[in-house]
Amino acid sequence: MKVRILFFASLRDELGDSRSVEAVEALPGETTVAALREAVAALSPAAARLGRRLLVAVNERYATDGDPVRPGDSVAFLPPLAGG
């Protein structure tokens, strides 16, 4: 299935504001954060290098690898934070 992913900061410089990414389905019409991590790592050496330091948010909340992602969810990949 296709999922649109938002990028920020260094990842946005490399990949643009957002991209539509193809991810393996876990159930019909549903993928997982882990599958999206793999898809993004394949897309970007920088993302691959960040590995677990890259955070993922689904619908504006932090998500973990097993969390489901469905069409219409807002998914963001967040490089290491530097607020404050």
Partner: protein, 139 residues
């Protein structure tokens, strides 16, 4: 109430907004842009956020701190955009009847912001620009 601002932040006004008439101790943390980072000269810092999530996360932090520190009122603000040296990037205002709780909640507020609020900064200086990564492995 918006927690993210493109306009300059006013720490004193936020502290007064946090105060209630039963409060005697007010603690404030202000993060400003400094002229150096990791040994490099800095002339400007550009902050960006994943805005809807940064707003939501700062609201969640305020609500959590209200639970952890019931007698304290904590308010959080973060600036985005291009900031010069000395400009205020972040403010945590904590108002409480007594100073112990005010200090504890203020400290917790800035730690939670740094750990959780999706904000990034691009450092600009004489040698070009770089995204700041506070936790980058050395070497």
């Amino acid at each position: 109430m918006p927690h993210l601002s493109r306009e300059p932040l006013d720490p004193g006004a936020l502290l007064e907004a946090a105060r209630r008439d039963g409060d005697g101790g007010l603690a404030l943390f202000v993060g400003v842009v400094r002229d150096n980072n990791d040994g490099r000269r800095v002339t400007e810092m550009e902050y960006e956020a994943y805005e809807p999530m940064a707003e939501a996360e700062m609201e969640r932090i305020e609500a959590e701190l209200a639970g952890r520190f019931p007698v304290v009122r904590v308010l959080l603000r973060h600036r985005i955009g291009r900031l010069r040296i000395g400009e205020v990037a972040v403010v945590v205002a904590a108002s409480a009847p007594h100073r112990d709780e005010a200090f504890a909640a203020c400290r917790a507020g800035i730690e939670e912001i740094k750990a959780r609020v999706p904000v990034w900064k691009r450092e600009r200086g004489p040698d070009g620009s770089v995204w700041v990564d506070p936790g980058a492995p050395l070497g």
